[in-house]
Symmetry: C2
Subunit: 437 residues, 2 copies
């Protein structure tokens, strides 16, 4: 086996084209296939941009290169220095005739599943070998799209004057209810992993006015589903001097912008995944909780007013409402303690969910900004206000009216990549069964 030495990439596979005919190039990649035809050997290399053909005619290359052919195996990592030669028969219309081949690794095992086409093992088996599974073109396409989505979201918020913040993941109080917390030992105290940045982002708007965060959240979900994970990426926004209607507009704008960017920058990836994406029309459709109950009733599903809505119920509306839509004005009792009740109708709160079909993408609303109201809600919900002392104290010093939302990046990725299983859009997904080292 060879060392890297001084060999450094000059080109990617998709840059080996007739326009650079006769140029000296260096490429790196993994050997996807080796085919021999008499004195000719054809290597197909794969890098992150695609495939490139390397053609060795035993009489036309240095001895050392011929010798290397004996070492190379499928799925070896190699580096190749050579000359580009136009030829219709190769990907991109050109191939490489090598002067030097470095065999950088020789696999001891070959991937137990074909990296291309054919039936794949189920995701659980593939996750046991995730780093190898990720070598397939489909996951590479998914994570390229995720990269573009992340840059787009931040670019949009940043351009709109939101400051990126980082709030702690180790906390000492539950924010979304105590059931789904991961406890940890923090030196000699008990602490928890944050289920959301909710309390911190609210505190921050008093000083910083407009903030966003993209980071991990941790929920010890009881049930194991195709759309829940123990560790997920949340995109959170909070803003002063606005209400839920304002942040709903911001939410639909960032989603629309992101989809437009993905359409623009990830054509090849969307094509490979066979995904037809279209920029949603703004404003997104919006229904009140009451209107949804009526629609459900039309489908012979009766929901007691005040109850949360279940996925099994919302599935019945999927044909009527297949795209993005808001459900707003929920019963106050069905939503988190920090949501602000409507002035004229306190049994309803200024809240919304953003759905895509029956998939919940986001939750948000106007927040309570008065300490007394917050204390009352905490007591109503059997929380001990003393556990929230640090947070409540901030309200003593005054808080502006504010609103915000959180959305699941991985949920949005399920929509962008048309994936039914959230695990496909997370590099190393975590759930009750899976704790990869």
């Amino acid at each position: 086996m060879d060392t890297l030495g001084y060999l450094r990439r000059t080109h990617y596979s998709n840059e080996i084209v007739p326009a650079v005919d006769a140029t000296d190039v260096v490429i790196f990649g993994i050997v996807a296939s080796i085919r021999e035809h008499g004195k000719l050997t054809f290597l197909i290399l794969e890098d992150t941009k695609g495939l490139v053909q390397v053609t060795i005619h035993k009489n036309n290359v240095p001895e050392s290169v011929v010798a290397k052919l004996k070492e190379i195996q499928e799925q070896s990592f190699v580096g190749i220095r050579g000359k580009v030669k136009s030829t219709e028969k190769a990907p991109h219309g050109a191939e490489i005739v090598p002067d030097e081949i470095k065999v950088l690794s020789i696999p001891h095992c070959l991937a137990p599943f074909k990296l291309y086409k054919q039936r794949l093992p189920n995701i659980e088996k593939r996750l046991d070998l995730r780093a190898i599974d990720l070598r397939r073109p489909q996951p590479k396409a998914i994570f390229k799209i995720k990269h573009v989505a992340l840059q787009s979201i931040r670019s949009f918020f940043s351009g709109q004057g939101y400051l990126e913040v980082e709030t702690p993941k180790i906390i000492s109080t539950a924010t979304e209810g105590g059931a789904a917390l991961f406890p940890l030992l923090y030196y000699n105290k008990e602490a928890f992993l944050a289920q959301s940045p909710q309390l911190y982002k609210e505190q921050l708007v008093g000083a910083l006015e407009k903030v966003f965060e993209i980071g991990p959240i941790f929920r010890a979900e009881r049930s194991r589903t195709m759309k829940h994970l123990s560790e997920a990426t949340s995109v959170d926004l909070e803003e002063a001097y606005v209400n839920y209607e304002d942040v709903m507009k911001t939410l639909e704008r960032v989603i629309t912008f992101t989809i437009a960017e993905v359409l623009d920058k990830c054509k090849d990836e969307l094509s490979l995944l066979k995904v037809k994406l279209k920029v949603p029309q703004m404003p997104f459709k919006s229904y009140t909780y009451d209107e949804i109950l009526k629609l459900l009733s039309d489908e012979a599903i009766e929901v007691t007013w005040g109850n949360d809505l279940f996925v099994s119920e919302l599935k019945a509306l999927e044909k009527k409402l297949p795209d993005f839509y808001f459900i707003k004005d929920w019963p106050t009792s069905s939503k988190a303690f920090y949501l602000k009740a409507k002035d004229d109708k306190p049994e309803i709160c200024e809240s919304f969910d953003l759905m895509h079909g029956s998939l919940e993408i986001s939750s948000g609303g106007s927040r309570i900004d008065q300490k007394q109201a917050l204390v009352e809600k905490l007591k109503e919900r059997s929380f001990d206000p003393a556990a929230f002392e640090y947070h409540l104290k901030v309200f003593d010093y005054g808080m502006p009216p504010h609103a915000g939302f959180g959305f699941g990046l991985d949920r949005l990725m399920m929509v962008l990549c048309k994936q039914k299983n959230i695990r496909e859009v997370v590099l190393y997904p975590r759930d009750q069964r899976r704790l990869i080292p």
Copy 2:
């Protein structure tokens, strides 16, 4: 107190200038001061862009506005609709004459420390009221700079073809040694919080070639210092087909780029913090471990070859080496198990630290890419290879040569904002003593 209603911001404080004289505007902010001169009341409001003066002449404004003056207190959050009026005596050369004032909150307490000038309480006291402390101009400047630094770093890496990834924070093995781990209860198993994305980012380069991540890392530090935190933000990069010299160049380029961006976009913030920043010259100075031992010896500090270097020792070189510099080619025994030994001199490994004076900013190096060598190093260090089975298995399928680094974003922020205490550059810092809800 008033509700938000339909009032929405049209301008920030720094946009209230003579050029918009006679324009109707809406601004929001916190009341920094109230001064009465007979029939005139001057309010100074502060928003995230600075200060603006609001002038109420009791005879020139609606009765409702005069009535509001009785409600307004210092540190109230207010919204004001009014007309701009040029005047030399106000900040930016213009003030607002209000038609409508909404008092959005009335504080029950006033901040126990002056938000402007004067001697501040120490950081520990300020962290007890961090959301109020953050209303001061200096922290706001620091976190604006942090925002710009984050966008710059990602923009640089993204533009260079690195894919942004998100690796798990809940893991089941230690990567940097077992001592500084936070254990957690993951459903019914024991797990830990990730000390770094090291093993995952290495696995990913086989498929994705060039990756970066900016996210939280967790270390149960034994000692409490001015530059260590239990939860910190790490910027990590890993790349295939390169060695440590290549990634050292990438590191100095991203830092230089980021400093240039901060200089360009944060002039006001740097000025307020009284920080004189300059773009460092590339290439950064670079010394081998051996050369550093010689320099220390010149200062009468003798270090046994093979030992790690202590901050107390490196402080002696601060006058000679005050800026960014690399220390490379460390003793293999002093560095993590995954660092690759030099082919010709295995007692030394292809490794580097990036220092700024005596502050360690980054560590990195060429990685071991052969399973056998990795297993041997694990055993040498009394790690049980079985605990690393998931990671080692990836090497069975072949890994390309690769290298990378991690740097502390908060450490870089200490340099950018000339802060001696890392707590000043983290919104809600965590250490052994501090676990804010």
